[in-house]
Symmetry: C3
Subunit: 327 residues, 3 copies
């Protein structure tokens, strides 16, 4: 049964303007919306896009004047959030039901403890002594190794590996000897882990990802890393052993955090940055160089190799000029 | 039955010189060839390598004078292409038959539609409503999530994930709320996807990879990315959400393309570059710094932190010197 | 039966000081140790941490004076190595038994040859003609494609792919034609490969990883790469086609090695470096720029785009000043 504007407004606890009985049958972007679709508008600059859209209703920021908008509207202080909530109400069938129930092809060890409503996807492997909290969903093809503990309402996407051995090696006479990795991995509640991401077990103590952390695809979390609550990490990031990342941090895609260092709470690291030292103050941090035409890049790179020498020359010249001024 | 030089030439539509009845029993690199083997030679600079090789025949560029070559030859305007075609004729048994038919261990939802001659490898998971076109091959351990559409003659290598949720989050009171990802993924025809690569489903609209795109291993394609036809992407690349990449582009290994930007057709981005802005003109683009001995690198990096200050000093000195010249 | 200090010392061939009958019941880091636990101490600077620890015994470097330490001690020239060996003796139950025996859910082709004591994890796929040497362990969800050869005592973690097709393409009229990949992959003895790492088969010849190499998670090894014995590679590294890496090298996390180049033995490449040319001498190499506050980074990056011009200005000024000095 399609939802009316009034019912949606009630469930989202938003005020609305327009025909209370309007039926909402779908959600879409402004560009692709059809009649019956709900969209959202966060920024005033997109107001002009409404004219070209066939959408029937909009979730609108309460900072935007709605007077000239000829659609039904719902008014929200956080339109993106309200829209996220609306999707589950307007078109529950379109949500990716990654997994439902325990798939019979999953290989689950006898000693595993699954909380209420846990789903385990096709062809998962879950090792001895694993504990998974209520409502968590484990995607197809995941491997959860022995003694890993996963909190409530966690969401692991396909082919994730949790609890693989950390990269612990000792050199002995020019060869590598493996250090047995006897720690485990602990995921808090409401943690989301993207496809093909790997989280290694700790060497002695545990690797820990606290409540509400969100990790994208193809991320490496090494042994004994600790990630503070509500930190979000974009795809392709690598976090080396024993790094400690604070709460509410945002780590951009393909950034690398070296081992045995600390990042305080509320730090943002932009994409592809390399963190080589502790970050002691909240703020935004970056490294890398800008994209250039290849020919320019070659020229500038050639100079980078002697940047120190260049700086010394400038210092010398500066001194010479200052002296000649003083004469 | 081994192939003769004459038969191979006929099938590849190439002219040949030498014994038409010569049996070709294998293919190899010049260095490792044995009697009976076919090799290829693209560049004149490798001509001298023929002497040390035991190969019996060569596919030779039509730009190279064959007069002094004492082997059977096939003459091609694109020797590497002819050689690629020859492999399937000379030694079909050595081609990696990744998958053949539908492996009984694959977990395929009831509503899946498979075209003629589709192969699905061992231990794949294919979700509800997935459509896979004729002749496509899905490698072992792949996870294809609900409603993904894959064109004809596509080749997905092992452990690929297509249709995992995009990394869609809204901040609410210092916590993250998941935005349901209700778009899907559409792969065109003749798309190849490397092992352990991930392609996320779109948030509202679809993620699209057009005809003839070739993606290597361990690549991340985020939600709502659009990759134009015949673009090739090397391993370990990350493409952030809603990036649009043109046709016939080449993205080097471990490059990163940020979200919500556009790259026109015929752009080449070299390895490990970071694309932070639109690329509006065809050409070759790069970022990053050259490899140095670690001690030099430390010195130059220290200077990079004050490059802006250095540049200001140079500007000031330049002005001072110009003024003193004018006096 | 718990181990006594005397027995442990005998088995590790170390001298000890303290109560020979002391029972050792666990291993731990100094910070988390409880009574009965064994720890290790490599560097003098951690000596003061002993006071706050409840550990009962320590493996101590023979370079540290033990006179003031009030715990049982074992004296070693390589405490970390001795500790790694001790773990298996003190708490064998806590070692991650990744796989034991051949899991019935593994899909193993008929022609596979498994050496004595090989373990194959749940839901692995092993293709035709694969040979795996004695004592090797293949983690859950791995895909080992046709004709791959794996030596003795190798350890492959979960979801590893060995023998996927290399990224071999020829351009033909603005489209890509696949080059069949008919080489294979050869892993030596005692090779360890981390979770979700991919190793592609060679185009014509084999991809080779020699004895004792250790690869971390999410690494890409392209076709025809050759990695010398006892080289260690950290997570997220990409190695492009036909690169040759020497023996006893150390490649830092997320570094990239371009194709068709050579690195000699005993080279260390630091994290996130880009190797674009041969490395002909042992040593430590790096590239990249330091992490900065985002506002500083923007300023310095703007200057980097005209670094060559800046250097030319400095050269000109230097010349001018030298000339005016000579007048």
């Amino acid at each position: 049964m399609p939802l009316t504007l009034r019912h949606l407004a009630e469930q989202l606890k938003l005020e609305f303007e327009g025909d209370a009985d309007l039926c909402l049958t779908g959600v879409a972007s402004l560009a692709n919306a059809r009649s019956g679709d709900l969209c959202f508008l966060q920024h005033e600059k997109y107001l002009r896009d409404i004219d070209g859209s066939d959408c029937s209703a909009l979730i609108l920021s309460d900072k935007i004047d709605s007077i000239e908008i000829d659609r039904a509207i719902l008014i929200s202080s956080n339109p993106q959030l309200s829209f996220a909530q609306a999707i589950a109400l307007v078109c529950p069938d379109r949500i990716n039901r990654m997994v439902m129930g325990i798939h019979p092809s999953a290989q689950i060890a006898e000693s595993v403890i699954l909380g209420e409503g846990v789903s385990v996807g096709a062809l998962c492997t879950i090792g001895e002594g694993v504990v998974i909290g209520a409502g968590s969903q484990i995607g197809a093809g995941c491997v959860i190794e022995d003694r890993v503990r996963i909190g409530d309402r966690c969401l692991l996407h396909a082919n994730v590996v949790i609890g693989s051995d950390g990269f612990g090696l000792v050199e002995d006479n020019q060869q590598w000897v493996k250090v047995p990795q006897i720690g485990s991995v602990v995921l808090g509640n409401d943690v989301e882990i993207g496809a093909n991401t790997t989280v290694d077990r700790g060497a002695l103590d545990d690797t820990v990802i606290e409540d509400g952390c969100k990790l994208d695809n193809l991320i490496q979390v090494a042994h004994n890393v600790r990630i503070g609550a509500h930190t979000a990490i974009a795809a392709c990031v690598g976090i080396a052993g024993s790094a400690i990342i604070g709460r509410n941090c945002k780590i951009g895609g393909a950034a690398v955090v070296l081992g045995h260092l600390s990042i305080v709470d509320n730090v943002m690291v932009t994409a592809m940055s390399l963190v080589t030292k502790d970050i002691k103050n909240p703020g935004v941090y970056s490294s890398g160089t800008p994209l250039m035409e290849n020919s320019e890049w070659h020229k500038n790179n050639a100079r980078y190799k002697s940047l120190d020498k260049l700086a010394r020359t400038v210092t010398r010249l500066d001194k010479l000029v200052a002296e000649s001024d003083n004469q």
